[in-house]
């Protein structure tokens, strides 16, 4: 087993464990903190896949942005020291069956469809630079569309979250 493999399996286990915690932990703040670790695990996987830029973006956006936002929402909506109470609805059984079935299906397809593909040797070129070039040439239209989407989401979020004046 090489170092890369060892790191991969380590990070994979770590990520899966953290995401299980996200789904199963009783305390919602614990879920959010576990989510941070899951995001970190995924970022580490990105580094293994030679996608440093994506890894940094992942940490910046998910850890620095989305998790903070989630924690903010948790603090605003739940009791500060809330514990106990049911966390799952009645669909646990059927959801588990569906999820397991889907997982089985995907693993089956995987084993059938993708033989043990080994990555091609990476050219020494800078991944980040070519990524940037691609984004602003071939994919410039989706890039602009996405920025529009972000703008729309920002306006929407502000309108939704703003309290109406005079009311409340």
């Amino acid at each position: 087993m090489t170092v890369t493999q060892a790191v991969f399996y380590l990070m994979a286990t770590f990520t899966v464990g953290a995401s299980l915690l996200v789904v199963l932990a009783r305390n919602i703040v614990h879920c959010a903190i576990a989510l941070v670790f899951a995001f970190f695990g995924v970022a580490a996987l990105f580094i293994l896949l030679d996608a440093e830029f994506l890894a940094a973006t992942q940490v910046l956006l998910y850890v620095g942005g989305i998790t903070i936002l989630l924690l903010f929402a948790i603090m605003l909506t739940s009791r500060i020291s809330a514990r106990g109470g049911k966390i799952m609805n009645e669909q646990v059984g059927i959801s588990a069956v569906v999820a397991l079935a889907l997982f089985g299906l995907m693993v089956y397809a995987n084993l059938k469809g993708f033989p043990a593909l080994v990555p091609p040797m990476l050219a020494a070129s800078d991944n980040t630079a070519s990524l940037g070039r691609l984004l602003l040439t071939t994919y410039v239209l989706p890039f602009e569309v996405v920025s529009l989407l972000l703008l729309a989401a920002m306006v929407g979020a502000i309108v939704l979250a703003r309290r109406e004046q005079g009311k409340d």
């Binding site: 614990h30 940094a56 973006t57 850890v63 924690l71 603090m75 020291s81």
Partner: protein
């Protein structure tokens, strides 16, 4: 040149292990541990120096002497004594606290501060790892601090600490944006995110001259990121007692303290590398120049802290979003325009 000899040394080191029949990752691991320990020692020593220095600066600004006894000369050993005191203090976990998160929070904060040292270019070749996404790495890893702060604030089971944590999250999110945008001017001029390349590009003119606006915005946002006066709203002593770390004492508090000063060093070092020409300077060796510039910026931060009053939360937000951010965008736009016109 020091770099060349160190590289050949490393090669010999790796070869020795190969001849012993050990896999490559053993020497790699050893190198990692050694480097990490060296950085850790540097962080600890520099933080102790900074704490003592800040006390001295504040004392002299306030017509006092500050620590004068411990260690003889101007109380130089005061921080060491304080550190030992904190180490041997009782570790108190408040009742109703979430023990796991409470214990984890200082580690997260410190890890984030510590990880940023990876990309600080102390001198030519004196960098832990010259990542090709260097600046981006720093920006993303520094955002982890906020998670630690929220963890600390929430797990303490104290309303003041929750308020502090919420304030801190709002502040960090607001000031991260102008901070990043203010750096973009430099990155666009150099065309690389690598710290070494950025410093090398300042051979002639330091970026503080063409990017003065960016530098000022960066410094203001950086002070806010460090939660220091006049932006120390998350821990505002007179309002929130101590903000997110109200309930921490002893060793855990010491780690927060360490992380705070380590962060201060990081933002100053990044500013020195991005805007003040890093290790470039006449006569003195490069690493000394770098440290001098960094400590000068730290001095400016301390000076501000002991002179100014604290901003209010809404003023802080207004400053971040309505003043710094548009100015940072303006800076970026002008830089881009000049770059395009120059071809």
């Amino acid at each position: 040149m020091a770099t060349v000899s160190s590289e050949t040394l490393m090669e010999q080191f790796y070869n020795a292990f190969e001849t012993w029949g050990l896999p490559l990752f053993v020497p790699q691991l050893i190198v990692m541990v050694v480097v990490a320990t060296a950085v850790l020692i540097f962080v600890a020593v520099s933080v102790m120096f900074m704490v003592w220095w800040e006390r001295k600066i504040s004392a002299h600004i306030q017509v006092r002497f500050g620590p004068m006894r411990v260690g003889g000369w101007h109380g130089w050993a005061q921080s060491i004594a304080d550190g030992i005191k904190l180490l041997i203090k009782e570790d108190i976990v408040p009742e109703g606290a979430d023990r796991l998160v409470f214990a984890l929070a200082p580690m997260v904060v410190f890890a984030a501060g510590f990880a940023a040292y990876v990309i600080i270019p102390f001198g030519p070749g004196l960098i832990v790892s010259d990542l090709n996404i260097g600046v981006l790495f720093y920006i993303s890893i520094s955002s982890l601090t906020v998670v630690g702060i929220i963890m600390a604030g929430w797990s303490s089971n104290n309303k003041y600490s929750v308020l502090g944590a919420i304030r801190s999250a709002a502040q960090a999110v607001s000031y991260e944006v102008p901070l990043v945008v203010s750096i973009l001017g430099v990155i666009m001029t150099v065309g690389s995110l690598s710290m070494t390349r950025i410093v090398e590009a300042q051979q002639g003119v330091w970026f503080v001259i063409p990017q003065l606006l960016g530098f000022l915005i960066y410094m203001i946002a950086a002070i806010a990121e460090c939660n220091r006066l006049p932006f120390d709203i998350p821990e505002a002593e007179s309002e929130l007692v101590a903000g997110f770390h109200v309930e921490y004492s002893g060793m855990r508090f010491a780690i927060f303290f360490l992380a705070e000063y380590a962060n201060m060093f990081t933002v100053s070092a990044i500013a020195a590398a991005l805007f003040l020409g890093g290790w470039h300077g006449p006569l003195l060796p490069g690493w000394l120049w770098f440290l001098l510039k960094t400590y000068f910026l730290i001095f400016v931060m301390m000076w501000l802290r002991w002179t100014l009053a604290r901003l209010r939360v809404d003023q802080l937000m207004n400053l971040g979003w309505k003043v710094l951010l548009p100015l940072a965008f303006l800076n970026m736009g002008i830089t881009g325009l000049i770059l395009v016109l120059r071809g």
